[in-house]
């Protein structure tokens, strides 16, 4: 289960989706960890309720009692692991905050959870239900982190108000995601600083 440790550390099992069931702190964390483990090993096609039950050390009935389908199960996991991984950096300056934030994205993509995340992503883009679930939580949380960083920069007078109304929040995750998912180009400090210094900061300052 080492592959999942990084994500499991960040699982907040008491979190609920709007209108959804409250997650059981002890058992659901084990199930979420098992989902990630199986996903990383077998991909979405190989994510079966049997394999999850085995990896979580619970009966299959326990899983079926809460989640009626693979998609529903995965959606709960998306909820609990998607967001809390990114923390709001506060280095005292916009450039430092942006470098920290994009470095967290690199770490997430390239870290031990990368394989599971990749399978999750593959399943999400091809499934409208999962997609809707992703839009609600992890993406809304990215936006919240970004806005917190930007609001402080506006307060410090580093960028003008309204600076964020552009593609600036999208460029970093987009380029890093394209490298990670498709092209396999380096995910390192060099691309982070190039993105921050040559794309994002100029975009924010030029308004």
């Amino acid at each position: 289960m080492t592959q999942c440790d990084e994500m499991v550390r960040t699982v907040h099992p008491t979190r609920t989706r709007a209108g959804g069931r409250r997650l059981d702190p002890s058992r659901d964390a084990a199930i979420a960890a098992a989902v990630l483990e199986v996903l990383g090993r077998n991909g979405y096609a190989g994510l079966t309720m049997d394999a999850v039950a085995l990896a979580a050390g619970v009966g299959k009935a326990t899983i079926y009692r809460r989640w009626s389908s693979k998609a529903e199960l995965l959606l709960s996991v998306v909820d609990v692991v998607g967001a809390p991984v990114l923390e709001v950096p506060d280095t005292g300056g916009l450039r430092g905050d942006l470098v920290t934030l994009l470095s967290e994205v690199v770490e997430l993509f390239g870290g031990p959870s990368g394989r599971a995340l990749r399978s999750l992503f593959g399943a999400v883009v091809d499934d409208p239900v999962l997609q809707e679930g992703c839009r609600r939580l992890p993406l809304a949380d990215w936006d919240a982190v970004w806005e917190a960083v930007l609001a402080r920069a506006v307060e410090r007078g580093e960028v003008p108000p309204g600076a964020g109304e552009s593609v600036a929040p999208e460029v970093g995750p987009a380029v890093l995601g394209l490298r990670w998912l498709v092209t396999g180009r380096p995910l390192d400090g060099a691309v982070v600083t190039e993105l921050v210094d040559r794309v994002v900061l100029p975009l924010l300052r030029r308004r």
Copy 2:
């Protein structure tokens, strides 16, 4: 089969992958069209040899004689549809070329083949074999189109030599791809011109 028309128009069935078999011009185009149709309707999980055979109007044995697995079949389709969709624009200026090129990407993502492309993408990111296949062809072709556009801009003196050695080629497809696959934000002329005028052109000119 209307959903596939746009891609099928661009299928070049005589194209071969390095070391691979030559594709049969008549029948393989029908099979490629069938793969896209089934993919758009059922997703990768629902892409079965039976469904492809039925949609293509050929026996299943015909398909199995050439492709031993679903992944191999899909890889042939990636080869024939991935690349020729993008044409090298030549508007006489770098800005016009870039707007045309990114508009082609928008059209491809948002067009009738979008659903099939999305399933294809979902399958590709979760499968190392498909991924390797994608890196060889469609991506190499994107690079070739980009380099042709940039080389002419260098010749015209619009940008300095070496301008392309940055994230500039990646930003457009990355942001458009993120909107298309994940966030659902608008894929329109506004995002294309913002990317060209505020990100890509400044990146290329600032060297």
